[in-house]
């Protein structure tokens, strides 16, 4: 199947942001392990791995803007909404469980992990509805 130009750009941008993420994550970990920064620099270094992840959301947003096929764009919007609903629902439930002392405290970035899991779930739901439509 021929890949649309916007999908090629999306794949390229995603590869760049994920590479930057790996570099920032390893770099920040090494920095804190071997020469822990202090003051405002510590905040800057700690937030470095988050920046490429924010970039991934921009990359997905750009794909939504650039996608010319309106039906496929609608599917991507649905997939993103499923991801958002899933991540926020689980995070909210976890927050209450944590508030009542039933589970351990978890870092906030797990919400992003949940969002990507929800994005995968949304993709599966889209694939299922497309498969059901053909049968």
């Amino acid at each position: 199947m021929r890949l649309q130009p916007e999908m090629k750009r999306y794949t390229r941008r995603l590869l760049v942001t994920m590479t930057l993420y790996a570099v920032a994550l390893i770099g920040a970990n090494m920095w804190f392990r071997h020469a822990p920064p202090s003051g405002p620099l510590a905040y800057l270094v700690a937030i470095l791995p988050a920046l490429p992840i924010m970039g991934v959301f921009v990359v997905i947003g750009r794909l939504l803007v650039e996608m010319r096929d309106e039906y496929v764009r609608m599917l991507l919007v649905r997939q993103s909404l499923i991801a958002t609903g899933f991540a926020l629902s689980v995070s909210t439930a976890w927050g209450f469980l944590e508030g009542f002392g039933l589970v351990e405290h978890t870092q906030g970035y797990w919400t992003t992990v949940l969002w990507f899991a929800g994005f995968g779930l949304g993709g599966c739901i889209n694939a299922f509805t497309e498969w059901r439509a053909r049968t």
């Binding site: 010319r68 096929d69 309106e70 039906y71 496929v72 609608m74 497309e130 059901r132 439509a133 053909r134």
Partner: protein, 71 residues
């Protein structure tokens, strides 16, 4: 899709022209998936795409798509 109401005559028009879904998709610059979704009534195209479809077949939008008030 079982139970989906088909609100257009796109499949018939396409068949009359002897085009596959892929042929029509290429002419409309959309995916085959989109053509299938429109044909089976799972997706209503935007006005610009509806105009593009109508212009491709040389007819009016209402000759292809059934008005919801007349369904």
């Amino acid at each position: 899709m079982a139970g989906a109401y088909v609100n257009n005559h796109l499949r018939t028009l396409r068949a009359e022209h002897g085009w596959s879904q892929q042929d029509l998709a290429e002419r409309l610059e959309v995916s085959r998936q989109s053509v299938n979704a429109i044909e089976t009534g799972r997706y209503d195209p935007s006005l610009p795409l509806a105009f593009k479809i109508a212009e491709l077949f040389g007819c009016a939008i209402e000759d292809i798509f059934v008005s919801p008030s007349k369904a």
